[in-house]
């Protein structure tokens, strides 16, 4: 038996060690999934017009989406987008719609990729892909709605089946532009219509590009959305202040009522019910949380109180055997069995006890009557 328990604890330790090891392994797996970078990862950049990029960008997990439909140019790169517009919105956020394709260069594994919608919302995925066997290329088309932000990256999207991050950049032609509000200016054209212009470093205007201006308009709309959000915060703060004021008002009102009650009690000369209240005072006198010492001090009083308890049958459960039995009140059982004889026995017993107690009274009084007796019996206890 001793050997068994020794081995038992050893097995328990081994099981705990295995569980801990398994937990660590699982934790590592979860961590890896959250930061998984596929060897086939691609990073795509969206450009509003035809910037030329080296085809090498596609070879190192970075491809460039190009505008237009120049397939000659397209096939030297990883993908393209054909058009976009800002006529869509989702949950109040202005979205730019991209229609494009990812073009692979003979790597058939790309055919089965699917677009994930974070944060872009795709309406069409690579299920619509087709192969160009003559050029040994695959065209994986897609349509996506991407939210506009006020930075040069207007969003990102992911391409499955592995997690792949796609950056979307805005440029006006070749140079990257930071779309801060200081570079955006609203001017009037020759017909008096307000149009959006983009300032360059010399505070001149960049060449007008309708695509950029359209997206700038979307950015401005997003700013308005942010303003709305700020207004929402202000409304929330106002609500909080109102609630705070309401709470303060309630507290002040409660304090006022309490003061009025005290004044009423002080000025009340009615003494009706005073005796009852005095009795309640004594009855409700609480010795408080007496703690452990007071528990012991008050034990004799509890004992005296318990002497007035009426009899109730005692239920006893035997441990390990789980058997219970009941001890009935003895006097009731005996009275039922022997009738009036029990009453006579009770009377005799109590008479003898009372006789002994009364005799004790008499002895004490007799001793007290002796003027030469200085004995204090309390000290003899």
């Amino acid at each position: 038996m001793k050997y068994f328990f020794k081995q038992y604890w050893r097995y328990i330790a081994m099981a705990l060690a295995f569980a801990t090891f398994n937990f660590l392994i699982n934790a590592c797996e979860v961590h890896a999934e959250g930061n998984f970078i596929s060897p086939a990862q691609f990073t795509f950049h969206f450009y509003p017009n035809g910037e030329t990029r080296s085809a090498a960008n596609c070879l190192y997990n970075t491809c460039t989406f190009m505008s237009g439909s120049d397939t000659t140019t397209i096939r030297s790169r990883g993908g393209y987008w054909t058009n976009y517009n800002t006529t869509h919105s989702f949950n109040g956020v202005t979205l730019v719609m991209f229609n494009g394709a990812i073009i692979s260069t003979g790597n058939t594994s790309i055919k089965n990729i699917s677009f994930l919608t974070n944060p872009c919302y795709f309406t069409q995925t690579t299920e619509f892909s087709y192969d160009d066997y003559s050029s040994n290329r695959q065209y994986n088309t897609f349509s996506a709605y991407c939210p506009i932000s006020n930075t040069d990256n207007i969003g990102s999207l992911s391409i499955g089946p592995n997690v792949q991050v796609v950056d979307i950049s805005l440029t006006d032609g070749i140079n990257a532009v930071s779309y801060s509000l200081s570079k955006i200016k609203i001017v009037q054209d020759t017909w008096g219509t307000e149009i959006i212009r983009l300032l360059n470093e010399n505070n001149g205007y960049w060449a007008t590009n309708q695509g950029i201006l359209t997206r700038l308009e979307a950015i401005l709309r997003q700013q308005l959305t942010n303003e709305d959000i700020i207004n929402g915060y202000l409304s929330t703060i106002q609500g909080l202040l109102q609630n705070s004021n309401s709470q303060a008002h309630s507290d002040a009102q409660a304090q006022k009522e309490a003061t009025e009650d005290i004044n009423d009690s002080i000025n009340n000369s009615n003494t009706d019910g005073g005796q009852t209240q005095a009795n309640d005072f004594f009855n409700n006198f609480d010795s408080g949380d007496t703690g452990s010492l007071m528990d012991l001090v008050s034990l004799p009083l509890d004992f005296l109180d318990s002497l007035n308890n009426t009899c109730s049958p005692i239920n006893i459960t035997i441990p390990y055997f789980n058997q219970s039995f009941q001890l009935p009140c003895l006097r009731a059982s005996l009275t039922e069995a022997f009738g009036g004889v029990v009453s006579i026995i009770v009377l005799v017993i109590n008479a003898l006890l009372c006789y002994r107690l009364i005799k004790g009274f008499i002895d004490i009084i007799h001793n007290l009557k002796d003027p030469n007796n200085d004995e204090i019996e309390v000290m003899d206890l």
């Binding site: 004594f282 010795s287 007071m294 012991l296 008050s298 007035n308 308890n309 009426t310 005692i314 009274f361």
Partner: protein, 99 residues
């Protein structure tokens, strides 16, 4: 009214005792809490025992008036001799001073 007054006196005495014991009890709970737990266990034990007193009293055929008489006897035995002896002592001192 007299009953309430006596109960009130008892409660006041208990309150005063509690007032005295409160800091001691706080010290015990702070520095030797296990001792406080032991006191609590003792109290719990006796409280459990007290619940069976009714059954014991019934089985011993002792009536309530006998118990009342016994309590009165012991109260008298513990208080009256002390009071009378104190009076006797005071009278003896008085007589000694008078001489």
């Amino acid at each position: 009214m007299i009953n309430a007054l006596i109960k009130g006196i008892f409660n006041i005495v208990l309150g005063l005792v509690n007032l005295i014991l409160t800091p001691i009890n706080a010290l015990i709970l702070t520095f030797i809490p296990d001792l406080g737990n032991i006191f609590g266990i003792i109290r719990q034990f006796f409280t459990t025992c007290f619940t069976y007193i009714g059954w014991v009293r019934d089985a011993s055929f002792i009536e309530g008036y006998t118990i009342s008489l016994a309590i009165a006897y012991w109260t008298f035995k513990l208080t009256a001799p002390l009071a009378v002896s104190t009076i006797k002592l005071a009278v003896k001192w008085y007589n000694s001073l008078k001489v």
